[in-house]
Symmetry: C2
Subunit: 339 residues, 2 copies
DNA sequence: AAAAATTTTGCAACCGGTTGCAAAGATAAA
DNA sequence: TTTATCTTTGCAACCGGTTGCAAAATTTTT
């Protein structure tokens, strides 16, 4: 396992040293190819002597598989995304795929990013976001790239696989939980107003509440998934007239909102109840103890990567797969207990 | 800008359509090459008609530049790393580089990851970790890859560029801040015991305290940078005899430690003081308000990427660059105020 | 032992680009 | 107009691999 400082050995050099043809070397490194045990051992000896490793990029030229997968996201501020990255990178690695990550935060020119991924010949793209503009993922599909949209909403296109949660049902879950507290003035403090996830949760939320006409319902939106956004929006709600219980679009927003409430002198959950969304790790910490709705991150991401694996391994263009997982209320200390 | 569903057009096809040679097409897409305005426009017309984009992987074969940079990390649980990723990916994108990320969490076979990066012909590697075993980065350097170790400690090797903080000085900072509180029993609650960052901070910490022989100093280590680790270690400290002020290796550990303290009935900062490390975003939240030491993340990462850019642009093998930034105490509510 | 079937091997072409070089074309100088 | 200089162009070889195909080597069958 010689180190050769800089210059890396090539197939040809290994072939020369082993005294065989270049094809023979190529074959010993391509699984499923036929090489005699003798040749193989000669090649392996020579290869390890030179420290040879195949150039995957050159290989991709003929195989048309790079093993690269674009991982596109636009939320690098929400702690939940660290978990998302951790899971995605690990799962992809397990499938022998390398994530090429694209950070769309503050990116004006999203199309340029798409082109970049195309130029790098990624085998597929994972879009991990619930807040990208509708139609963003289409660009990839139109370029003929296999794509799975994690945390997305099943849409019109047959060629975009979606794995995520049932946001409508999640909205219902939240509404029911607030109703169970006996509130008669509740609020929906959503994320970005145009995000599909926000709209779907709102739909479910209102769906349940429409059966309780006596309960007054207020709707507000935080601009983004940040502490400040939650804080500011709740501060403004306080001025305009506070309800008793709120469903916040996200745990970080919840924490911002709770800070605004506490600063204004309200006690949680005695005077105002909060239910968040995501169940990020910190939600369970002693000084937070946020009641929230958990989305099954691990399952979503495992399914996304499985789906990807399936598409990539089968030559046939796959049947579209949509999979939405159910969410679950995690009861902690920011809503009064019922029953 | 025709879409052609799947099959992507190649140089040759563009050349044919434009009625020029393949070289001409290549040249219009390589900046700095000489093409007449007429040819260029013919090529551009044909290219956009076909929706042509060069294959960067094929190009890399001859140019020996892939634009890929390995980004290796082993901490996907600490919120501070989300900020690190955000900054790194953005800065790299700004330099026209694509991060190929390697998640070393729970990875038994780190060497395999190194090989993978080599097989993908990355132009350079960024190791972003203060807890990888000493000598880990060496592997890359030995393979002749330019490397910058962010959050590392300058070491013996001349070919490893290090950008980070002065951990020894940071340890001093913490010690002085605790001493200023008038404590006579202080503690160091470090991160992983063998990590260079832990050892350096401890060195600085003890260095200052050695001038105060009357102050009793206790030293403990948390196994990793997690809430549980901080909680458990502090719980055990409580049993063994509690001091008055602690320097915790990390904000998350601090929060775990504080939970243990509060559960045991101690008030912070009245009975026990805590100073953390990192100043992650949450440290400033209303229900945390952690006094901590901030490392200048933005500066470190910008410098790391600049350093990389320099190495990659200059053909000459670069002069080694080490750069350590100073840290800063951020006073909040977990240490009594002095002055 | 010869014929048939199977496996292993190397040749040569190809994947999608780049680039040194010499010829062709354009421009400037004589 | 002729000659010298500079720019643009295409040819062909190359980057580091893979692969279809036919020949060579080996194994199996008769």
């Amino acid at each position: 396992m010689e180190e050769n400082r800089g210059k890396r050995p090539t197939l040809g050099e290994v072939a020369a040293l082993a005294g065989v043809s270049r094809s023979a070397v190529s074959r010993t490194f391509t699984k499923g190819a036929s090489v005699s045990p003798l040749t193989r051992s000669k090649v392996e000896e020579a290869a390890s002597q030179l420290g040879y490793r195949p150039n995957l990029l050159a290989r991709s030229l003929t195989t048309r598989k790079t093993g690269l997968v674009g991982l596109v996201a636009n939320n690098f501020h929400n702690p939940i995304f660290l978990e998302v990255f951790d899971l995605f990178t690990r799962e992809l690695q397990r499938e022998g795929l390398r994530p090429l990550i694209v950070n769309l935060t503050n990116e004006t020119d999203a199309l340029r990013s798409v082109q970049l991924l195309l130029e790098y010949q990624v085998d597929a793209v994972v879009v991990a976001s619930s807040t990208l503009p509708v139609g963003f993922a289409d660009t990839f599909a139109e370029a003929g790239l296999p794509i799975v949209h994690a945390f997305g909403r099943p849409g019109h296109r047959k060629d975009i696989n979606v794995v995520g949660i049932d946001n409508i049902e999640a909205g219902r879950l939240a509404a029911r939980r607030l109703i169970a507290c006996g509130y008669d003035r509740v609020g929906f403090l959503g994320g970005p107003e145009k995000a599909t996830s926000t709209r779907d949760r709102l739909e479910g939320f209102l769906d349940v509440l429409s059966d309780y006409p006596k309960i007054q319902t207020r709707i507000d939106f935080a601009g983004d998934y940040t502490f400040e956004s939650g804080f500011d929006e709740m501060a403004s709600i306080i001025l305009r007239g506070l309800g008793q219980g709120y469903f916040c679009a996200d745990d970080v927003i919840s924490i911002g909102a709770m800070s605004a409430l506490r600063r204004a002198g309200y006690r949680i959950p005695e005077q105002v109840g909060i239910i968040g969304f995501n169940d990020m790790e910190m939600a369970g910490w002693d000084n937070v103890r946020l009641t929230t709705i958990r989305q099954p991150l691990g399952a979503i991401i495992a399914e996304s990567v499985n789906c990807l694996g399936l598409i990539l391994s089968s030559e046939i263009s796959n049947p579209t797969r949509h999979k939405l997982f159910p969410c679950e209320v995690i009861d902690r200390d920011t809503l009064p207990l019922t029953n």
